[in-house]
Every structure is written in C-alpha cells, then in structure tokens.
Point group: C2
Chain length 322, copies 2
Amino acid sequence: MKVLVTGAAGMLGRKFCNQLATAGSIAGQKVRSLTMVDIVESPKIEAPFDVLSLAGDLTERGIAEQLIADHPDIILHSAAVVSGEAEVDFDKGYRINVDATRELFEAIRRASYHPRVVFTSSIAVFGAPFPEVIGEEFFSTPLTSYGAQKAIGELLLADYTRKGFFDGVGIRLPTICVRPGKPNRAASGFFSSIIREPLNGQEAILPVPDTVRHWFASPRSAIGFFFRAAEIGDAGLGTRRVLAMPGLSATVGEMIESLGRCAGSDRRKLIRRVPDPAIIKIVEGWPMALDASRAENLGFKAEANFDEIVRAHIEDEGIVVR
Amino acid sequence: MKVLVTGAAGMLGRKFCNQLATAGSIAGQKVRSLTMVDIVESPKIEAPFDVLSLAGDLTERGIAEQLIADHPDIILHSAAVVSGEAEVDFDKGYRINVDATRELFEAIRRASYHPRVVFTSSIAVFGAPFPEVIGEEFFSTPLTSYGAQKAIGELLLADYTRKGFFDGVGIRLPTICVRPGKPNRAASGFFSSIIREPLNGQEAILPVPDTVRHWFASPRSAIGFFFRAAEIGDAGLGTRRVLAMPGLSATVGEMIESLGRCAGSDRRKLIRRVPDPAIIKIVEGWPMALDASRAENLGFKAEANFDEIVRAHIEDEGIVVR
C-alpha cells in the first residue's frame, strides 16, 4: 500500500502517520510508502517503510500532480484551514478548504486510477436549529464558512465518486477532545482545556454553563475512524459517501465529573467559571448529538463515556496524574 | 431598480425579462434599467426602460466586474449548463455552474454593496431514496453533477449572505412543464413533449409508465417565483436562504387526462408508449413531491392542478386548439 496524507503536520494527520508506522499495515495490507504533505514541514517519523515528507500548497500549480504521480492507493485528505481562521480569512478558507480539495480531486481524476480517498468533514456542516439528535438525512445549513466549505467538499467527493474518478468516503468528525498541546483560541477550545489544563495542574477558564451539551470523540477514536474509512468496502455506501462518525454526547458538567473520577476531585477546582456571552451564543448553534448508526454498522467505534476520553488522553499523552 | 439577469437567453431568463418589460416594476419599484447577459446574444425586447444586452462568459476575466459595475439592485442568476450537458461535459458543468457562480458572487463582494441575489436551484439537489414528500430539512445527495453543482451554489449563496456580502435567496425549481419550443434530448423532455406535441397535432413518445409521479410548475409560475424572490424581505429566511418552490405532484396518467380535458380526448391518441428502460431508471431517482410550506407561507404560488398547467401553456404560447 502506498499512502498519502495531506495535513500531515496537523494534530490528527501526525497521529495517523505515527499509528501507521506502528501498525505497518492498512486495509489488511503492508504499507510500502507514506507521503506526508502539509503547508509546513511534517515532523519526522520512524517507520518500517519509506517516508517522504513535502512542504507545499495544494493550490500551487503542479503540487497535486506531484503527490498523485506514484498513484497512492489510500489518500487521507485532512488538510484544512480550521473553523476560526476560515471565518476570519474568507479567501484563505475557500482557497484551502475548497480549491485545494478540488485540485487534489482533479489530479486524481487526471491520473486515471481509482484510489480510496478519505475526506475529513465535520459536524460543522450542521447549523441550528436542529433536533436534539441529528438524523442521518438531516440537511446541511452551516453557520460558518468552514462548515460551508466542508459541505462543498462532501458534495465534490460524492460526485467524483459517482462518476468513477475515485472511491471516496467522507467522515464527519465530532469535536475532537481532548486535544493535546497548548490552549488555542478556537471557540471550542475550552472543551479540551477544561480537561487538559487541570490534568497538568493548571487553571482553565470555562466560558459556558455546565449544562451545555456537545458531541465528542477522542483523537484516538479519530485515528481509528481514518483506518476504518480506508478499509471498508463499498457495500453499504452506495451513492451516499459521507458518514456521521460515532461520538459521545456529554454535558460540560458530565465532563468535569469525569475529570474528577479519573484524576481526583480536587482537579475540578482548577476550572474557573467566567461566562462569555459571545461563546455561549456560538455554542448554542452546535450539535448536541448525532445518529451515527450507518457508521456504527460499518464498524466505526468511539468512546462509550467521557471517562474513556479522559483516560485515552492520559494514556496517549503520557500524562502522570499525581 | 437596476436589474441584472444572467442566462437571459434561456427560456426562463427570456420570459422573466419580457415580463419585467410588461410590468415595468419589481419589488414595488420602477425598473430603471435591465442588463441581460448570456453566453449567446439575448433576444431583443421592447421595454419602458434601458436595456443592455451582453454576450459573454462569466468565467472570463473582467466580465463579472463589468456586470456589477453599475451596482444592480436585483440580480437573477439563472445562467447554467443544464443537467444532461453537465453530465456529459464534467468540466463545463463545474466551470459554468460553480466557477461562474463564484465569480459573480465574488464580483458583488468586491463591489461592497448589498443587492438581492436570486439564485435558481433545482430539485436535482435531491437523490433517491427519499420519502414520497421530501421535507424542508431533507439532505442533498444529488445523483447528477448538475445537482451537485446546484447544491454547491446554494451553500455559497447562504455563506455569502451570512457574511453580509449580499442578500441571497435560492429557489429550488420543480421540473418546468410545459416547456415551449422544440423537443430536447434531456431525460425529462418527455414530460413537456407529451403535452406540447399533441397540442400541435404531432406525435409524442412516452418512455415511462403512466404511473410515474413527478413535481411540476409552469414557466408562468417560475417567472412568478423570480418576482416574488426579488421582493420578499428577510424576515422568514434567517440563515436558511434556500426555499423549495411550490409545485404540483402529478402522475403521467393525470397529465394525459388533463390534456384530454383541455384540448379534446383525441389528442391523447398522439401519445405513443415506447418504454425506455434507461429513462425509466433515471426517473426513478427523481422527486415525486416536496413540502414547500416555507415558500407558500412567503407568498410563492404554483398551479393547483395539471389542467392549469396545460391552460397556461396554451395561453402563454398563443396555441390555437382546433
């Protein structure tokens, strides 16, 4: 198997490449080579196969062709400008999230072969008002440019697949939590920081009420989704190539209880409640839960409770809970 | 009011421009000028206001800017490569239906003003399987490139509107029937020809069973939709800028009965049944009916029965039924 990963320097891209190096195989076959591409240099990884790392912009002439030249069998397209940035920089969001996606898809089409393309979409394709549990056939009315761009990517993926240009699977990721690393300024950042910072003995700000409910999966589950999306056959998909990924619906209050159970109830005191009306308003427009039966029936798995998400973070990031 | 119409040489664009000339006003205000643009020269019209006709391709550099230069207040964007052609010529479909739409939207954004943009979408954004009546919140899983391109246009329209770049209203047209003119080779062409040709004393081929049910509105209703979309306020729309247009759900059998009632039962003998498995299969993927309550509540109106559609065709095309 030859594997290509776009967005390989991103949190999930990097974790996927590392997991690929550990596993040595994907979709039941040995990996022969991995090409990692991102706008910046991807981190070095040790792997039992050839690894090529490229820094480049998919919208630049020739880059997509170069990536497709050796006909990778599995392509994980996770490169994206994130939600906050796409909202601030409208042009950059469309350029990377739409144009670069189309450049990649076109390069595959021109190469006339038939790889599996895994496209990372997002629950941001949905916009309130919606039901408490969003059904598999609910429409996309995104409330951010990022959501609109991901919904456009989904349509392109399905159309290129229907036309036989490649074999696409789109996966709508839940909010990935707990994200390792430094706090970021995304509106959703607090979901990770209220767990991550207290585990490190640091204070975290909670800008929304404890009753806020949202839809989560761990980075570990996300990597599992990528592997599963690479290996599933066409059987269950038909012309509907985009799957809502399973996740876990939890309130902020439940998250904080998990933190206490997994790392000691004192940790909870490190969470400082500073309501932020702007963030409260944004979060009101976010999904609380999704029906992910299609993906579940195809073997996609996420955590069953938030304790598992906290423990996955502790294990995967090697955190010593004192 | 300054009005701009793209696709002005098309059947609906032309009818809209003529109706505008007759009415002399739109959205409660006098029309000062009309710019008609299409890839070919638009037909001349007599109007009580200035009419400028341009032949040009919106994807060519500078064309969109030129059209937006005098800040038209109302823009009807009906230019499109139709379904059959977009399926055969993948590149042309995306170039006209997606890229030209984006060029136009970008030109408006750069001009920094706030016109009403009416975007003609289609029930082709839906793909089977779907319920007998497709709800307002049903998802878009198009089974044609045309449908995918229209769904992308809808997402762009909503996002540009949300960002305040213009004031967009998308309208999902039913199959427009009876189309005047010559038979065309679109898979849906027979819906018009089984009425139009017998009214002209000519034979028509019916390639599907009489039980096939589909969703229709007359060209006259479509023009009414354009006018209504130009004048409605923002009140009911919020962030959901795309409306399913009202229509009429009828079976082929009911259409043929209408033909008999409106023009004499002998006309029905001019319909020759030649089942075409390919067309039968395509038509199975098409909507039978839509819930259009949102649009109806906003004052959009279509025919109540198929007799009205046949009579509208007879009147509007000046057909003498002997």
